[in-house]
Assembly symmetry: C2
Homo-oligomer: 140 residues x 2
């Protein structure tokens, strides 16, 4: 199969609350939305924020919220961008999970959860290049 992923779907309790987090906190614009789901066109794939009950039905399992072992990361252009980005997310309804260390040198990251506990790492990583379109290439 093509080394490819098309969509990440996050189940949420309150779509309006989550929309605020992703639109106001990250500053992202939906590409599509209705009363059940909001889609964001990301760098080569889609992020979907979906009413949890609908998602559970579609997945044919009773999903349960909790500290799940997965994280999504948003890389920022400079180490000095990490804290302001985390602050904006918290202001938009996120919760601080792990503060970024200071002062920054090399890799530099903190974690914020969205209103439903989905974890986002806000990171600066000079080893991984990001194209103008947002495409990320592994580097060491």
């Amino acid at each position: 199969m093509q080394q490819q992923m098309s969509v990440i779907t996050l189940g949420v309790h309150d779509l309006a609350r989550s929309r605020r987090f992703y639109v106001d906190g990250f500053g992202w614009a939906p590409v599509f939305e209705n009363e059940d789901i909001v889609f964001f066109q990301m760098n080569g794939f889609m992020l979907g924020v979906w009413k949890a009950a609908e998602q559970s039905k579609d997945m044919a399992r009773e999903n349960a919220f909790g500290p799940a072992p997965f994280a999504l990361a948003d890389n920022v252009p400079a180490a000095s961008d990490v804290q302001p980005a985390m602050d904006a997310l918290i202001k938009a309804g996120g919760k601080l999970l792990k503060p970024a260390p200071g002062p920054p040198h090399g890799g530099f990251a903190g974690y914020v959860t969205d209103p439903d506990g989905h974890a986002w790492e806000i990171a600066f990583n000079s080893a991984w290049s990001i194209s103008p379109e947002g495409y990320v290439t592994f580097g060491v």
Copy 2:
């Protein structure tokens, strides 16, 4: 912030077992691996499969496995590719979560979980275009 995500990290109990699922089941090649993590270069971002204990430590929370409300999707080129892809994942240690419906018409998808319960939707969706590089664009 750029409408961009750099990494998805999935915590796993047994790295060798998960490596088998992603390498043999999906047929994907790691771009980097050590005893704690395997990275796959995806379409514009990285997928990291990480020892759960290390991930918990990094995230500063005690993560718990369970039916988490999130799913990742891999889109295949044709409806007839869905079932063979699901079969390959199950053979490599995945578990069937929801069979694909049949016969296919329009959207067509099933769900398989990886060995730790992380859900993958295997989907055919003719409305969303996928470039030769695997970049997905929203369509209706």
